[in-house]
Amino acid sequence: MSGIRILVGTRKGAFVLTSDAKRKDWKVDGPHFAGWEIYHMKGSPVNPDRIYASQTSGWFGQIIQRSSDGGKTWETPGSSPDDLKGPDGMPKGESNMFVYDGIPGTHQWYDGTQHPWEFKRVWHLEPALDHADHVYAGVEDAALFESKDGGKTWKELSGLRQHDTGPRWQPGAGGMCLHTILIDPKNQKRIFVAISAAGAFRTDDGGKTWKPINKGLHSEFMPNPTAEVGHCVHRIAMHPSKPSTLFMQKHWDVMRSDDGGDSWREVSDNLPTDFGFPIDVHAHEPETIYVVPIKSDSEHYPLEGKLRVYRSRTGGNKWEELTKGLPQKDCYVNVLRDAMSVDSLDPCGVYFGTTGGQVYASRDSGDSWEPIVRDLPAVLSVEVQTLK
């Protein structure tokens, strides 16, 4: 029997929400890693019971956790007694060792001066499509790491950070984070990443070389609004059946590309505000997309205190507001960039978490919503697994 498992990362721990395919009765399990910030958790498409989690603390730094039983139990990879008994010097306690390749160099700081690259945390974990032990990590300060041993050891794909434009990348308000990793299912050597505030980048050779793909983006806050890099891209989404079409929620503007990011055009049209963080695509309709408009970059909450998801069934431009079941007064939460996800049941389920600790679910592609939980810590990320 199929079911749904939602992996919720919050400011104070991780929660696992589960339901059968009816999506009506939910079991809430957690907090795991109580008191720690869980920026992101995601399951492997190869083995859904293999889940990776990024656990961080301002005091104690970065931890990587891994589950092999769907989130019931967890371990820090490479630190189990079995690993320590390895005959040939099995890695020990290196699962949180994110060391930049070579001399890290500098990037642009908030005040325009150059600032050294410093690792702070893992924002996003993207399990690869080929093996459950293969996983990518997007980190702050922006870089991409890869593990091929289930998270025991990490190696930087340094061609990205060492791109000629690196010294011109700058942190957004949340830090200089690599927060989006999309793997082309038809060509796994093609990977898209997004960085705040540098922009979007693409590799076609598995991460050795990278190309900025920001043509068509326009960012008023930059001295040159159409510069090659420096754009504050908040999120990119892709439908697996149509990997050359990308949708982007930028700092301001919702954008679309139909050529793998080589060029972008704006599709914000009738949105009440085109500032926001998440964007996602319907599981079965590659031209149906979702955003959550936020008032502005200075006021990170919904317009008029009304929490509204907007859906376009035309790949952008024609947007309809979705409000049924969502608070329509006095609501001043935010929905962060990694906090929206979809399931692949029919009809498609859509889920998002808020900084107020609610996780909302729609069983009907967004037509109506109800909260699964209302009072979690601030939600940082939501990932949904559809279990067979």
Partner: protein, 98 residues
């Protein structure tokens, strides 16, 4: 046998109780103690000291016999009371934020 008291979040990470005990077969210093602690609990690597440089993380403090020794040399001998196990060595998270 040296007794070490870890902060709450590192206890849950290492899955240990209030106090852990570490055997040292060499001179007892902050460095040798932390080396031994991390050998016994590898998941603590990088959480007390930075990987590579082995510098104390900025929001971590060390206390021995009621004294803050965070800024002492990591190679300085630990007090006898710590070495004999009469007093625990405290690793604490600094007070920061609300």
């Amino acid at each position: 046998m040296i007794r070490v008291v870890l902060p709450h979040h590192l206890r849950t990470l290492a899955k240990v109780g209030d106090e852990v005990r570490v055997d040292l077969n060499r001179s007892a210093t902050v460095k040798s103690l932390l080396d031994a602690l991390e050998d016994k609990y590898p998941m603590l690597r990088g959480t007390i000291r930075e990987h590579g440089t082995l510098k104390r993380r900025p929001l971590v403090r060390f206390f021995a016999c009621g004294e803050d020794i965070s800024h002492e040399s990591a190679d300085a001998p630990l007090p006898d009371a710590i070495v004999k196990g009469d007093e625990p060595f405290f690793i604490m998270g600094a007070i920061a934020g609300g």
